[in-house]
Symmetry: C2
Subunit: 194 residues, 2 copies
């Protein structure tokens, strides 16, 4: 009676990055592999079992309230990055501009993956997808530094393509090139109006 089902999608890591704890801006720095602990990516600015509540959850928590950290990783898809770039008139989107932790390819409609989906690497390390990420204004600043005038186009182009946030369910290592298995909750949609 598993509650998660394996999907047929071949998901592959094409890029990994981390935002250093002492950072000058939101950019992430490319790395070949990451060590995942229950607190997130070791040495990463977003790591922590808990985090102070930010403006994204202001409907629920006063800013700074300690809450469980479901935003340890920011995962985006290569396909959606290409769509954002095309819409912005850029050749490519550098995931570092977004402060992304991981780029994957092979999963259609990636940003709308069902919440509580799982991505599992070759050594068994597993990530829980919390939900869709939302475009914020900071990437626009980074894009504008490299492509003056293009930054302001980011927010609209990234809508619905900003990837997902995730946290570590099982510790382990993930590396560029790894194939990930994608599991999604095996349940129908909520029907509150039935």
């Amino acid at each position: 009676m598993p509650a998660l089902k394996l999907t047929p999608y071949k998901c592959r890591i094409t890029w990994l990055g981390l935002v250093p704890e002492e950072r000058p801006d939101i950019r992430s720095v490319p790395v070949d592999d990451v060590e995942l602990t229950y607190a997130g990516v070791q040495g990463e600015m977003h790591s922590g079992l808990t985090r102070p509540a930010c403006v994204r959850v202001k409907e629920q928590f006063a800013r700074g309230t300690e809450i469980a950290n479901t935003r340890q990783l920011s995962i985006v898809s290569a396909e959606e990055l290409a769509e954002i770039a095309a819409q912005m008139g850029l050749e490519a989107m550098d995931p570092a501009w977004l402060g992304a932790s991981m780029v994957v390819e092979g999963v259609p409609d990636f940003s709308h993956l069902p919440p509580s989906a799982r991505l599992q690497g070759p050594d068994g390390a597993s990530l829980v997808i919390d939900m869709q990420n939302r475009p914020c204004l900071f990437p626009a600043r980074e894009i504008d530094k490299d492509h003056p005038g293009r930054g302001p186009k980011f927010k609209a182009a990234a809508k619905g393509r900003r990837g997902v946030t995730a946290w570590v369910e099982r510790e382990g290592r993930m590396a560029v090139g790894d194939a990930l298995r994608l599991f999604v909750p095996d349940q129908r949609a909520w029907r509150p109006g039935k």
Copy 2:
């Protein structure tokens, strides 16, 4: 840009229970309130920041593998318990038979709440819903002890009505009678075939 939206449902806690760590069976014992920590309900058999993987996640993990504990609480709805009871020819379902942690009323189609939904209590304590729970065979044994011959009807009657599993996002206290606010991810369904 909050990723969660408040729903209009008035959700109220009608029962709380905990399964003692030294337990003779799966039954939970009713309590008036619970203290929620990041490890779950204090003094509860299912508490823990991590848990050993069980048969429910055998597609992902070898049995006993240490994983994050997203099954700290088992939450069921009063309405769905009444439906199960009716289908089994019982006057009422005792949530203790299920080893439930919490019974709530007021949310339609409760077992199919969107994964990653949040339930928040009056003091700000917050639970993350991982996903639908699945009927197992143990409640049938407990029902059969109190209503001989009825136990075997449980599994079919409980299908799609077995509630959800949840874990603690913000610490605090919840008590019988508390009103909970229900937030759900503000995103459309996944469309992998688009």
